[in-house]
Amino acid sequence: MNIKNKIKITVNGKQMQIIPKFSLKSLITKLNMPINKIAIELNKKIIDKKRISKIQLKKGDKIEIVHFIGGG
């Protein structure tokens, strides 16, 4: 794949490059995230985890992936 065909997205504040037609599910799999322990926001909208295979990522998308950490 030519690098020019790649699209830029932002995941947790960091820029990433993906190939076109890359799904949100593919991203979660690529990042090795356990789906039952995270929540996902796409452009500030919470995504139903059951639907992630149907969502194709677009240029400039901002994704937040969160989980629980220690807190008071």
Binding site: K14, I46, V66, H67, G71, G72
Partner: protein, 257 residues
Amino acid sequence: MIDNKFKIANKIFKSRLIVGTGKYKSFSECAKAIKTSGADIVTVAVRRVNISNKNKARLMDFIDPKKITYLPNTAGCFTAEDAIRTLRLAREIGGWKLVKLEVLGDKRNLFPEMIETLRSTELLTKEGFKVMVYCNDDPLMAKRLENAGAVAIMPLAAPIGSGLGIQNKVNIKIIRKQTKLPLIIDAGIGQASDATIAMELGCDGVLINTAIAKAKNPFQMAEAMKLAVISGRKSFLSGRINPNLFGSASTTNKGII
């Protein structure tokens, strides 16, 4: 007096001690301290996952949310919008509806921003959340939170993490008198006697993080807090004697030689 069950939003909990999971040296230390404390509710925070280190340990791998109730918090939120966004994400992770709302107004003393806290309580309650609210020890605001649908009132004893103990016993007593909601001291506990005093004031529970996590021996402190809460509750229910300025001999003078 027979003890009532510790009930929050119609769910009964065994322990009146709620513990935080922050500030521990490791997740395994945290998990061991929680076990020793006997707590069946733990507070947790929502943050970004580390995408550069995929193998980093996760809290949920050490503390099983099926065995202990996770209480997601809104630590670090300064507006109602931030708090709602955070708790919607927490709900999405695994269906959590019982939450701890904490909207701060000042980075230095970590006091709650009560106007935003009240607004958040109303909005979250409308969305179906069961909101336990970190708040100031102000009886009027506590009443407003109750009217807005809070399921527990959680006034501070002193600033978060300060370990100063209960600074305003009178206000805590007034709030106790006016509400039937669970009243839980949240923040400011430093040592076991502080937890006992909270319970002797009639509080339903105590939430502790720093005092256990940063103690030299967190496991021993976790046990001390567990016993302190039990002790304070029993003391409260037993009906203390009236304080008296003068002495009253424990031994009768009858038969004195």
